[in-house]
Symmetry: none
Subunit: 233 residues, 2 copies
Amino acid sequence: MNILIAEDEKDIRNLLAISLEEKGYTVFPAKNGAAAWEIIKTQEIHLAILDVMMPELDGFNLLRRIREVSTLPVIFLTARTEDMDKVLGLGLGADDYLAKPFSMNELAARVAAQLRRNHEYLNPKEPETLSLQYGELYIDKKACCAYLSGRLLELNPKEYKLLVFLMENPERVFTKKQLYNAVWGDDYFYDDNTIMVHISHLRNKIEGDTQSPEYIKTIRGLGYKLHKIGGSR
Amino acid sequence: MNILIAEDEKDIRNLLAISLEEKGYTVFPAKNGAAAWEIIKTQEIHLAILDVMMPELDGFNLLRRIREVSTLPVIFLTARTEDMDKVLGLGLGADDYLAKPFSMNELAARVAAQLRRNHEYLNPKEPETLSLQYGELYIDKKACCAYLSGRLLELNPKEYKLLVFLMENPERVFTKKQLYNAVWGDDYFYDDNTIMVHISHLRNKIEGDTQSPEYIKTIRGLGYKLHKIGGSR
DNA sequence: TTTTAGTTTAAATTTACCTTAAATCGCCGG
DNA sequence: CCGGCGATTTAAGGTAAATTTAAACTAAAA
């Protein structure tokens, strides 16, 4: 895995580089945004760590440029909380951010999380299962159709995606945010309520009794999961 | 939180000790590496601040020795930049470093960051176990389900988190405050009673006889622990 | 015995969730 | 460019469950 580090302070840059190399990553250090951009154009980079404030080309504008051509995962570093708000506010598509001072453990964890996430995204589930089944539910992915007890369900696109995602990962609890991420693709305009309404709609179409759902279970305080068939509770 | 300070210069050592004690930490000062090592072996230390140059046993070798037995967070202090490079170059696993002279605020921030980080999950090296087992208790973290003797337990979110935390650290005594921080997060207003009530609820669900609990033991004056199976008291 | 620490229960409060309806968005045809 | 339609989001009110508070009780230490 190749990681780009754009950071103007030498000590921090070295600390980051060495720590990440220890973890087995290949590191490409850059001392300003312009140098970073050169590296991105010429190397295959899998994740970028950008300082917000840098000479030549600052983190914001570098990210903007990156986003014009790719969805490379980007983690922002910043010393000031106002910058943080700005990162979020601009909605430029930073995948994560970290306030200085931070610990190497923390950074390493975030890096691993981003790479893992991106990896899952790039290699979504084994050689494409084209149909899914769970109890009386059946999905034909080629035709994008869902059936309940052999009868076609009229699902809207979001409802369909939600159901597919849950059926691909049965028994596993997802937070609303995770579901939003999986179905909508990002989490910038995320709102709890949206997910809840869609879950409600979906239940109305697949559950016999929405009061005690057979398929989509609520795990209070956590999220939802596709529930084991025949299980209690 | 217990912090070890290994620093040979008396003035600096005292300054550090006093400042950190002011912030509410318990400080264990040592005037050389050998003394520090004795403290580490006998006390429960949560973070170590090591000077690089010390008589008897220098910071590098002390860290090496520490790393053979634990993942204790370590912050290095050094006056010379060459030492800094050495800290990094050796890849010994220092979590952070600080160049002298430094501000107390800076150090306090780094200390807090390390402790926070370490507290979030006590075993950052473990590749997160997805299931936990202890006696007749079993937890499936992916599905967020707890079972007793194969039967599903209906736990509330806080009860669930509490049980997970205890099962991830069996045999270790936690104060009520530590448990509270682990489950609720550090920055909520803490109240003894809350923890006690939740422990009570949890016991009602997992203990056959709440009068002589088999799993969650009370250690009077200290806190609670997940008790060794079959052990007495 | 007195004091302190822990347990338990029930009531009060807060939070999270569900549902419905209305508002908004985005696309297609006229 | 406009109107209409389906899909999606926002908003509000209701409800149930989880959490906290409070108080009475019990056991252990001093």
